[in-house]
Symmetry: C2
Subunit: 160 residues, 2 copies
């Protein structure tokens, strides 16, 4: 999956589609100063090369009663590769884990878990996280409020 260099127009397209993934190609082409045909071709190329991973709808967590975010620091017993892979394989199977990062420092992993309430989080700990072999320590921090949640990568600063 080669990722060729992106010129000014490509980055402009990405910036706009990051804000509105359903923007009509006719609108998009106007904003980037192209006619619809080459604009659509660039978008398709960005999709096929994997620069654009996918398009999604963002849902209000409160509207579906999923407004509790928990950040979980997980330390494994020993950082042998096998253990890491097993943990990561488990993580991707749990839909409650929206994000997971392998971290520097003392904690090995940082997870963001989304649940409807604390009871559901307890169930997640008991039924899933603590059952993975090799988990040495778990530290939970709760988010009181989502001040900002943005999916758009900051492309502005590298505008030619």
């Amino acid at each position: 999956m080669p990722k060729p260099d992106l010129d000014r127009i490509d980055r402009n397209i990405l910036a706009l589609l990051q804000q509105d993934g359903r923007m009509a190609n006719s609108d998009l082409s106007q904003r980037v100063g192209l006619s619809p045909s080459p604009c659509l071709r660039r978008v398709k190329a960005l999709e096929e090369t994997g620069v654009i991973r996918n398009y999604v709808a963002l849902v209000d967590p409160a509207a579906v009663d999923l407004s509790v975010s928990v950040f979980v620091s997980v330390t494994l017993e020993r950082q042998v590769e096998e253990r890491l892979d097993a943990f990561e394989a488990a993580v991707v199977r749990w839909p409650e884990v929206l994000e997971c990062y392998l971290m520097t420092g003392e904690a090995d992993y940082l997870l963001r878990v989304v649940v409807p309430d604390l009871a559901a989080y307890e169930r997640f700990l008991k039924d899933h996280l603590t059952r993975v072999p090799g988990v040495a320590s778990i530290k939970s921090s709760f988010a009181l409020k989502q001040v900002r949640y943005n999916t758009a990568l900051p492309l502005g600063h590298l505008a030619d």
Copy 2:
């Protein structure tokens, strides 16, 4: 902005659009067992009531050279409301801050900052974060790898 109750079909629509925000309404209607007309009407209603916040394209961070995620724990001097508001107002103006949460426990805020490299993160600290009045302490943790990044809220478990 009232958020009326969502039935099985609505949640099904949300689950599908969270996976593919550009799915054609004709496809969507088939999958949820409806004809195109009422299906589109439901989608529009979900948009207008704010259940669907927006549609976005997700971009591969590596393809645009933004593969460094830094988690920043920020403590303010005193948690007076005025200070919190000022900090939050600053945060939403910085495009590098993709996420920001008000946390329980010792640290007041947890931020996820996305930058191209460590030098850019240094600049972010020096030029922006440390200049906000009231910031008492800053602790940075670096992500070595993004194991999982999902934007779809887990709706499966509440399927009727």
